[in-house]
């Protein structure tokens, strides 16, 4: 009994690292977009399309990293589309997000039909745990390189927001568009670029899904992760480093189901798989009332007005 608990915890650790990586990238991308004052709910579409594009490109070129880059490219296109439409007057940006989600998913399913069966080269993992000699622990510590890229990116973003001119411009556009305009900054352009860059990161997050874990392309690959990442960013109060912690938390929640299955507990399977959604809901309720969140929200963000 004791041994199974340890196995479950170890499996959850491995799962947390694995499952958190796409959350991380989407959350960092959404963090950048929201810091500039725009909310992008279409990242689910970026995620799914990125997953499909990554798999397809990896299949055709034989190199998974080209797949990752191509996924980022598809993400830029969807993000740019979102950014372009949202800057037109009178457009409802929450609805546009849902539309992009619909469009991206449709495109991915349409072009992805040909790639459900074939097997494409995948990203390799870095074995961090071989020295332990403990089977399950070594497996849990098989980390993929994108995880480290994500952490490095978060540190870079956190530093850049606080210490660079670009970071200041983005923050200013998000906190007060009027001040930004007074400084001669083109608010539309900054938000457009931030949305496109956010889309790029979300696309890369998607590439992780198809090229590492679960490691194949099919139509049920993502189920709301893109939207959960938006909630995650609010929970992390728009700080990139806290986004990483929140992503790890979500990853652990998402890993509960498979971890329990690995020790043979299969009852309540659906409830454990619903754990990330329930967790997200509670987190949203908690942070909606939080004074800290209200203080740190970018002033121009329509979701909190």
């Amino acid at each position: 009994m004791d041994n199974s608990l340890v196995i479950v915890l170890i499996a959850m650790l491995g799962g947390a690292i694995r499952v958190s990586t796409p959350f991380m990238f989407v959350a960092l991308g959404e963090c950048l977009t929201e810091k500039s004052g725009r909310i992008n709910l279409g990242l689910e579409g970026n995620l799914v399309l990125g997953a499909m594009v990554a798999y397809a490109v990896s299949f055709h070129t034989g190199n998974p990293w080209f797949g990752v880059l191509a996924a980022g490219g598809s993400g830029i296109i969807l993000g740019a589309l979102h950014g372009y439409i949202c800057k037109l007057p009178k457009v409802n940006d929450i609805a546009v997000g849902i539309a992009i989600m619909s469009f991206g998913t449709g495109l991915a399913f349409f072009f992805g039909k040909a790639y459900i069966q074939p097997s494409a080269p995948r990203l390799n993992s870095i074995s961090l745990g071989d020295w332990t000699g403990h089977g399950p622990l070594a497996q849990a510590l098989q980390v993929n390189p994108l995880f480290f890229v994500g952490i490095a990116l978060a540190i870079l973003m956190s530093w850049a927001f606080a210490n660079t001119r670009w970071g200041l411009i983005v923050r200013m556009t998000g906190d007060s568009a009027a001040s930004a305009k007074a400084m001669g900054v083109s608010v539309d352009l900054v938000r457009f670029l931030a949305t496109a860059a956010g889309g790029f990161l979300a696309g890369i997050g998607g590439s992780f899904l198809s090229l590492y874990y679960p490691g194949s392309w099919n139509e049920g690959l993502s189920s709301g992760q893109g939207l959960m990442a938006v909630a995650l960013v609010i929970f992390a109060r728009w700080d990139p480093i806290r986004c990483i912690w929140a992503a790890l938390l979500f990853g652990a929640a998402g890993a509960i189901g498979p971890s329990l299955q690995s020790v043979g507990i299969t009852q309540g399977y659906y409830f454990f798989n619903a754990a990330p959604y329930i967790l997200t809901l509670f987190i949203m309720i908690a942070s909606a009332r939080s004074k800290g969140a209200a203080r740190e929200a970018p002033g121009e963000l329509s979701i909190t007005k």
């Binding site: 849902i98 539309a99 939207l227 809901l281």
Partner: protein, 369 residues
Amino acid sequence: MTIASPDIGAAPRTPNVRTLKLAEAFFVPVAALIVSALLFSLFLLVIGKSPIDFFSLVWVGGFGSSFSIQQSLQRSAPLILAALAFAIPARIGLTMIGAEGALVLGGFAAAAIAIPLVTGGAPVPLAWLLMAGAAMLTGGLWIGLAGWLRHYRGVNETISSLLLSYIAIAIMNFFVEGALRDPASANKPSTMPIGDAYRIGAIPGTSVHWGFAAGIVLAVLLYILMSRTTFGFAARMTGGNVRAAQAQGLPVGFLVVTCCIIAGACAGLAGFFEVAVIHGQANASLVAGYGFTGILIAFLARHNPLAIVPVAILFGAIAAAGGLIQRRMGMPDATVLVLQGIIFVVLLASDTLYGRLKFFQPPALGDRT
């Protein structure tokens, strides 16, 4: 000495503002549809298919024969209800995208409550009443919860309703594969079938089931509610400006939650019809994407319950023609998703045209040319 005076007694020969606004509200979505059709045709050409084939197959498969028309109407029934489920909260300013979950949970509730009724041999009309009631109650509570969270806790309703949708699907799956599973349904876990005696039939003289009639009745009722009652007026006012509504002393919380309950009840009713007519039991087939198509229909209809009916029939036609398109043109079912995505994006972008098209703007005062 007479002074030639201008003819100030005559009425201006310009159409009044209301007609112009109506024309604009009709023209812009139709223009968006045409532009989307053009873009989609471009897409088809790029992948080597003929747009003419596609649209003619949609016409044939959707409206070409009496059979296809009835198929379109049949397919439009859940879409009408799902679109209403988005449109009503949209009038009060909320973006509720959880209709899919409410539909699934409603259908499940109907199937679940049917189990004791069917085994007990309850009279059929009573069974239908209880099933529909259970479905509407469950769906209503689900979306109502999201509305409550929005008003009383400030939780963004778009995300919370989608999360609740996924949770609802998980709940349904949990029970359908666990406690309420029919042992006879080995390949595809389902609840006990309600049996032929309890299936809802077609409207006499057609092969369209009663769900379509229910959709039309609800659309008319909700139109009257939103446009001709005090409740509807208060709701629309809240949708326009919450703070002004609160300042007026309107019971905003009550309005929000009630509108959400109504919306959820519509979605739940759609789930009831899916179970009672199409499937006869609750299983994973309930998750059919009606929720998202309903959102698009609501936007195209500008959230007007009456306009939702023809738009839903159009999408029902596209769905009815789907099988034909798949077979004749060798394209995957996701083709319709791409078309819907394009329509959605173009339609939302066209929002920017309101108030900017010179043709529809009332002439400025004093301008008598």
